[in-house]
Structure formats: structure tokens, C-alpha cells
């Protein structure tokens, strides 16, 4: 009896101190199974998926070539005009032109153009996919319940982790970089489109119903216009997050300011890192101020003049 008790005691201690792990062999097979399955999937579908993204690659390459080939003075004028059109502020135009000149003078013009091209295409892609997705989410609580955790996942998982399957599927290049940026940057525009539509005043919606608006008319004449300030805040966040991803995108072969930062990290070039990093910050500030001011202008109608 007594020996039995001691043995049981020993087993219990062992059970509490040692985690009951899967056996080493099983674990290896488990991981291998997943890897192999995905590799098979890649072999089977990799080419067609790559083919699917060819148009995207063409657009990105075309756009990159366009901005790089545009003579720098013309580019500065175009950017200054865009800034003015968005923000209606001469101060911001002056700041933008000054930072562009400094960046160019310090030899980062071409890299900056690559980065601008990537951010522009990524943002456009996020908007094209994100806004309809947000609308869909706002239409039904069930869709919202399905999409929200996916967005949470996309925002919290370390970006290096989803680089692995992207690399396995598409290899190194511009498109995988673009996709990685979009995965990280798309959640805000989806979330805020959804939120914006859900926050639209119920009384106004009821009025639209009372006047016989079809669901489509309601979306385009009431819901989207009233949600626009929120949607715009989402677009602003999306741009900021896309900029934050340029260094990670450089890891899988995207040329631009990010790849220079990466080079600086690998070789401990302090000056190179600081310069390119500051250039990214400058672009971020310009994008942020312009899109915020534009968003504010969209809400001009809400100024209360009469008390």
C-alpha cells in the first residue's frame, strides 16, 4: 500500500512540474504536415495565384516608372498642387516643397519616388477593397461578427509571420511586398467605414425610408455621405500604417526608402538610416496633414453659424 502511495505522489509531482507535451516525433510530423500541405498547395496553385496578381504588378510597375521618369521640377509642382487641392493651405505647400527639395538634395529622390508609388498603389488598393468590405459589414451583424476577428488578427499578428506564406506563394518581389503592406494597412478603413455607416443618425435614415428610398439610394445619398468623415479618418490611418510597413516590405525585396533603412541596419550606417528614416517621417507628416485637412473640409457643413 505504502509503496503505491509514494509512486502516485511521484507521478503527481512529475505531472505538475513537467508540461504534458506532445511527443517530439508527433510534433515534428505535425509541423511537417502543415508545411508540406502548404508547399503542395503552393506547387499546385502558386502559378495561377501569381498570374492573378500580374495586373496588379503591371499597374505598380507602370506607376513606379511614371513617377520615376517624371522630371523632378514637374513632380514637385504636381505634388504641391495636390497638397493645395487637398488642404488649401499655403503653409503646408511650402513645407512640402521644402522637404521634397531637401530629400532630393540628399540623394534620396529616386528611392522616395519608389516609396511614394508603393504607398499610393497600396492605399488605392486598400480603399477599393476596404470600403465595400466596410459597407458589407455595416449591413449585417453576422458579417460584422465574422470580419471583426479577422481584422483583429491582421492587426496584431507580427507582420513577419504572414511574410512566410506570402514568400512561399509568390517569392520575393514587388507584389508580395504590396500584399504585405495591404494586409497590415487595410483594417482601419474597413473598420471606420463600418463604424461610420452604423453611426448615421437613425432619424435621417427613417426620413429616407419615409420618402421611399431604395437600399441603394439610401447608401449613396444618406449613409456614405454622412459616414464620409469617419471613412476619411480610416483612409488617413491606412496611409500611416502603409508607411510604417515600408521597411518590412523592403525585407521581401521592395525597393525604396525602406530598403535603404534596411541596408543601414545591416551595415550599421547611422547617417543613412537617419536620413531615410526622416524622409519617411516627412512623407508621413505631409500625407497626414493633407488628408486630415481634407477630411475637415468635408465636414464644413456642420459648422454652426446660427446659435
Amino acid at each position: 500500500m505504502s509503496t503505491d502511495n509514494t509512486e502516485a505522489g511521484l507521478n503527481l509531482t512529475e505531472l505538475l512540474t513537467e508540461f504534458p507535451e506532445m511527443s517530439r516525433g508527433d510534433l515534428r510530423d505535425f509541423k511537417k504536415g502543415i508545411d508540406e500541405t502548404f508547399r503542395d498547395f503552393t506547387r499546385e496553385w502558386g502559378e495561377s495565384i501569381e498570374g492573378f496578381f500580374v495586373p496588379l504588378l503591371k499597374i505598380l510597375v507602370w506607376f513606379e516608372k511614371l513617377v520615376v521618369a517624371t522630371p523632378w521640377p514637374l513632380m514637385i509642382v504636381i505634388l504641391a498642387a495636390l497638397v493645395y487641392a487637398g488642404a488649401r493651405s499655403w503653409g503646408l505647400v511650402a513645407g512640402t516643397v521644402a522637404s521634397l527639395l531637401v530629400i532630393g538634395y540628399l540623394g534620396m529622390w529616386e528611392d522616395m519616388m519608389f516609396t511614394l508609388a508603393l504607398i499610393s498603389v497600396a492605399t488605392a488598393l486598400c480603399i477599393i477593397i476596404g470600403i465595400p468590405l466596410g459597407i458589407l459589414m455595416s449591413k449585417s451583424d453576422r458579417t460584422q461578427a465574422v470580419i471583426t476577428p479577422v481584422l483583429d488578427f491582421m492587426q496584431t499578428i507580427p507582420s513577419f509571420v504572414y511574410l512566410i506564406p506570402i514568400l512561399m506563394l509568390l517569392g520575393i518581389g514587388k507584389v508580395p511586398g504590396l500584399i504585405a503592406v495591404c494586409i497590415y494597412a487595410i483594417p482601419p478603413v474597413v473598420r471606420l467605414t463600418n463604424l461610420g455607416i452604423r453611426l448615421v443618425d437613425k432619424d435621417v435614415l427613417e426620413a429616407a425610408d419615409a420618402f421611399g428610398a431604395s437600399p441603394r439610394q439610401k447608401l449613396f445619398t444618406v449613409q456614405l455621405p454622412l459616414a464620409l468623415p469617419n471613412i476619411f479618418a480610416g483612409v488617413n490611418q491606412t496611409i500611416m500604417m502603409a508607411l510604417a510597413m515600408v521597411v518590412v516590405a523592403a525585407l521581401i525585396g521592395v525597393q525604396g526608402l525602406g530598403s535603404e533603412v534596411l541596408k543601414a541596419v545591416n551595415n550599421q550606417y547611422l547617417a543613412l538610416g537617419l536620413m531615410n528614416g526622416s524622409a519617411i517621417v516627412a512623407i508621413a507628416i505631409v500625407f497626414d496633414r493633407v488628408s486630415q485637412k481634407f477630411g475637415k473640409r468635408l465636414q464644413k457643413h456642420s459648422e454652426v453659424i446660427h446659435g
Binding site: 427613417e206 455621405p225 454622412l226
Partner: protein
Amino acid sequence: MADNSIEVKNLYKIFGAHGEKYIEAVENGMSKDDLNAKHGHVLGLKNINIHMPSAKIQVIMGLSGSGKSTMIRHINRLIDPTAGEVIFQGEDVCKMSKADLQEFRRHKTAMVFQKFALLPHRTVVDNTVFGLELQGVDKKERHDRAMHWLKRVGLEGFENNYPNQLSGGMQQRVGLARALTNDADILLMDEAFSALDPLIRMDMQTILLELQKDLQKTIVFITHDLDEALRLGDQIAILRDGAVIQQGTGQEIVLNPADSYIADFIKEVNRGRVIRVDTIMTGANGGSSITIPSGSRLEHAAKLMVESGEAEANIVDDKNSAIGAITLKSAIDAMVTPAAH
């Protein structure tokens, strides 16, 4: 003229997952509190029967929670009934398909809301064209029609302002212009003037009464204010706890309140503005130099008599022939004596 009366028949609304299950219980006298406590359902409307006359103003009056806002939303079916019918031009609104209902809302009804419910991102004129835009009327025509009505409600010159730049009273004029621009047979007004301060409210009532002289629409007007109800309503229905407790003209209600609840309500009413001379006139004797048209209110009649120094007046019909007479004393008596109850 087309018959644009609205017939509400046996209308029930029970809020909750299975409202239809409890209609019988409510018919058998289950109270609102019991229904809520025992079954978790809320009684909204209970066996409503109202004939809303064509081209007249039907007021539905009640305090908050009486079901009046629920009631008006059944006419354009913003709320689906649990049982019952709402008949307009021979068709039951409650049985319309989605597409028919959309057409019905676009062309037959227009609504004015308590909180205005204007589109904040659109200018006054762009708000006013809203109904026509949904109907697909072309740009030029809808703009012209909107401008016509903006002028009628006194908003000329404000067409390019945003709603937020206007006062409450002006915003509600936009709401009214938006509804009128639709040129629908039915005008639904859900506490349309309740959010406005008293002077502006009187103003808006005057505008509405003026407009109604030409418009001759079937107006359903919701209010919690008895003075407003008496001033506007050709017909008044009083709701309490989701049921109609009395309906009739303002005068009928003031002279014969159905129960003590209504009697309490009308205690403070200015009876001189409700009771008509026809109610108290006696046989014509032609002994007076002043005449008062039939249908005038007592206050108006008393004023005329006092101003002319006469103690008596003849009541004449629209052909100017005498049909009766009143004395100043009888007029004042009727104005100060509460109804017997």
C-alpha cells in the same frame, strides 16, 4: 375630388418576438403591464379604428408613451402592424409588397419629423428636392418645384445655406417644404412643431393652416399639445396606452369629454377658441345690427359684439341669410362654464 381618406381598421401592434401570439389575450382584456411582466412583450397599439377624412387635418393626440408616434408610422408602414388594416384608395398598405410600398411612399405620402431629420451635408434646396430625386424627376423640374415651395414657406434666399446654419423654426420649414415638394396626397406630421418654441410654433401652425386652404391634403398630425390639437384639428383622436379613448371634433371633445382623464386634459383649454357660435345659438329673431358668419368661434363673436356695443348678434350662413342669434351673455356663459361632468 378624389377620396383621399384613410381608414384604419382593427390595428394592433405588439412589440416583441411573437406579438401575434398575444393579440387574443389583449382582446380579452390583458393590460399593458401584465403583457410586459408575463410575456415580455410591449403593447403598442390596441384595436385602433379611425376614419381619417379626406382633405382634412386629423390630429392624433396623446402624451408620451400613448402610442401616437407608433400609430402614424403605420400609415406609411415604417412600422409593420401585428394585425389590422390601413386602407388608402382601396388598397391595404399593410399588405403591399416591398416594391409597391416604396412606390406608395414616394408618390402618396410625405412626412415631417419632430427632429427635422434633414440631411446635414446638403443645402436647403438640395434637401427640399430629396423626395423628387428619389422619384427620379429630372434636375431642372425638381429644382423649380423645390424653389416654389421654399418661397411658400418663407425661405427664399436661404436655399444655399446648410441646415446647421438655420434656427430650429427655419429647419422645420425646410422639413415642411421637403414634404410639400413631393406633392403627395397624404402629409404625415409627427410632432412636427413640438421641438419649436411657442411663438414659432404658433407661426408654423398659421403657415400650415394657410397652406391647407389651397392644398386640401389629408394631413395626419401628431401632437401632445391640446391647444395645438384644437387649433389645427378638423378631427381629433385621443390616444392613451395604445388605445383610442375618444374621437370627434375639438368642440365635441371639449363639450363632452369621454372620461375624467380627458376632462382633466381640457380643464385649462380656452373654450372661446374651440366652441362655435352654432352650438349655442337660438332661433333667429333678426333683432341685431351685426352679423356673424356660421362656424365662428365664441371668442371672435364676443369680440365683435363688444366692439360694436351690441348685446346680440345674428348668425348667418354662407348665403348671408340669418339662421340664428346669440347674446353676449350666452357667449360668455359658454366660454366660462366648464362642461358638465
